[in-house]
């Protein structure tokens, strides 16, 4: 072999070695780091994960719930509207999301209530008061304790407080302003629930929106009715963590940020609820992974993601696809 050919062969081998080295990927699987030559071929998740939590103990089985969705018609929505003191004719608003809306301007200001056909969720608001275009002074908002009492009175007086609702927190949910001054416009008093002491997570909650002079200006109620269906065994948290790393069996879409690293500080079980615009027949257990993440600019932010706790054969038997 000529010297020239030897040189070409040497260069080719060097390039091949460099390529293989550049594609080494290490999977973090809890306490064991498993190096592999190529990135994971399954799933889409490329973020590096660091485990800083213990795996929870799990039960032999968990109850699956079936949702009970009301038949949401325009009459139904008009009934709901009367709960808020609204009159008028409800009309289909957005077909794709199943939203039916009733708008009432009889008091001189627009009030509206929407009910979503696929979930029974209710959204009530007074847009111009609840979400003003401009304000030039700080609205007078109640204290946290007063806000909680105002919300409870409002809900109980309208028979809207579910028996299993638990107070969660009060937070500022709207701020408007300019570069030099901004104002807290409204508070949200939030409620959540558990199924057999297991938190319901995802898109499930009740929020009462309170604004200037403690006026209730809105309500958001994603609260699907459920009934027990059957018991089901679930995968181990170790299995779920591997799936999180591999980007498999997530129950919600990925984040639109490029995360370099995520540190998991807590792993828990919850029951997953879909957004109000989605149909959902069964309520299933999920693993919730909570912690912090570093984005592509090196900034730390909260991290939370969910992996189905039900094995694939269980999902198939229920006809569920994530």
């Amino acid at each position: 072999m000529t010297q020239k050919r030897l040189m070409i062969l040497g260069i080719a081998v060097t390039v091949a070695v460099l390529f293989a080295t550049a594609t080494v990927w290490i999977d973090h699987t809890g306490t064991n780091a498993v190096p592999s030559l190529f990135p994971p071929s399954e799933g889409d998740h490329r973020t590096t994960f660091v485990l800083n939590a213990t795996f929870p103990k799990i039960s032999d089985s968990y109850l699956v719930y079936k949702t009970v969705t009301p038949e949401v018609t325009t009459d139904f929505v008009e009934d709901i509207g009367r709960t808020f003191g609204l009159t008028g004719t409800a009309k289909p608003y957005i077909e794709a999301t199943g939203e039916i809306c009733l708008v009432d301007g009889i008091k001189g200001v627009r009030e509206q209530v929407s009910v979503y056909r696929y979930s029974g969720a209710v959204v009530y608001e007074i847009p111009d008061k609840g979400f003003p275009t401009y304000i030039d002074s700080q609205p007078i908002l109640p204290s946290e304790n007063d806000a909680k009492e105002i919300a409870l009175d409002y809900l109980m007086n309208r028979n809207l407080l579910p028996r299993d609702a638990e107070f969660t927190n009060v937070e500022v949910n709207q701020i408007i302003g300019n570069a030099t001054v901004s104002y807290n416009v409204t508070l949200a008093v939030r409620f959540s629930r558990n199924f057999n002491d297991i938190p319901v997570c995802g898109h499930d909650g009740l929020s009462v929106i309170i604004g200037n002079n403690s006026e209730v200006l809105g309500l958001v109620m994603n609260w699907r009715a459920v009934e027990p269906y059957k018991e089901i065994s679930i995968k181990t948290p170790e299995e779920a963590y591997k799936e999180l790393i591999a980007g498999k069996n997530r129950v919600q879409p990925p984040l639109e940020t490029m995360l370099d690293q995520a540190t998991i500080n807590e792993i828990s079980i919850g029951y997953w609820m879909e957004p109000r615009i989605n149909k959902q027949e069964f309520v299933l257990p999920v693993y919730a992974f909570t912690g912090t993440a570093i984005d592509s600019e090196g900034r730390e932010e909260p991290f939370r993601d969910f992996v189905s706790a039900v094995r694939s054969e269980g999902l198939e038997s229920l006809g569920v696809v994530y």
């Binding site: 709207q174 300019n178 939030r190 932010e301």
Partner: protein, 252 residues
């Protein structure tokens, strides 16, 4: 002869002064029959390379927005995805007057941060504070469906003004989920919702607590805007170093 020459010079001075004054006071020098022939364009990215995650819903979401308005009579100008998205489409020294700033409403969905849009994993980025000037040609409203896109409003008043006549920039203060929100947003706009209400409602329908939207406007009056043909639209605002913002936290 002398008088004629003087008159011509005077007329020329008046004409040049008028052009300068109009250009400074009114953005949107490329406004072209907006009210009667409004235009829409979208750019989206699903494919991000290792080690960062793809966004499988960006195309469906962007196209739902594009076709939602298109089917209602808006002129479809461009639908660019993945390799066809270009930084130049967004940038003032690129082709923005043909793309992002060449339409009345635009949609971007893909990865992002508080300082840039990330059109690919490496080196295909659009910086907010120094690479964009939106609204000085045609753009009235833009939705940036990406994480933290409007978290730092001052980034749109950097060494170059991203808020340069555009009425509203709709985005996220927090992270965002890769949901198919485009069609819902378009439907709400076409139902006569104000732009900022439509954005808030559409995102609230799919995101829960922990996610916050932020809409930035050149001034507070921009917050009353509907899209063309569905309600009032303010005249293109005078551009200055200020901005106004509306921040809403989603509910579960």
């Amino acid at each position: 002869m002398k008088r004629r020459t003087t008159c011509m010079k005077f007329a020329l001075i008046i004409a040049v002064s008028s052009v300068i004054l109009i250009s400074y006071a009114n953005a949107g020098t490329g406004d072209d029959n907006d009210a009667t022939s409004p235009e829409v364009g979208v750019e989206w990215v699903t494919e991000y390379s290792f080690p960062h995650s793809p966004l499988p819903n960006s195309d469906d979401s962007a196209k739902a927005f594009y076709n939602g308005l298109g089917n209602a009579g808006w002129t479809r100008r461009f639908d660019k995805g993945n390799g066809d998205t270009k930084e130049a489409h967004f940038e003032y020294n690129g082709q923005d007057s043909t793309y992002i700033d060449g339409v009345d409403i635009a949609w971007y969905q893909g990865h992002g941060t508080k300082s840039r849009l990330e059109l690919s994993t490496y080196w295909k980025w659009v910086g907010f504070s120094n690479e964009i000037e939106w609204g000085d040609h045609d753009l009235e409203w833009i939705a940036l469906h990406s994480c933290h896109s409007t978290e730092e409003p001052s980034n749109f008043k950097g060494s170059h003004y991203g808020l340069n006549g555009v009425h509203l920039i709709c985005g996220f203060k927090t992270a965002a989920l890769n949901c198919v929100d485009g069609g819902n947003f378009a439907n709400r706009l076409l139902n006569g919702e104000k732009v900022r209400h439509a954005w808030r409602h559409a995102i609230d329908d799919t995101h829960g607590s922990g996610y916050t939207v932020r809409i930035i406007g050149e001034n507070s009056a921009c917050g009353n805007d509907h899209i063309w043909g569905e309600g009032s639209v303010i005249a293109d605002p005078t551009v200055d170093s200020g901005y106004y913002m509306w921040t809403y936290s989603c509910s579960d």
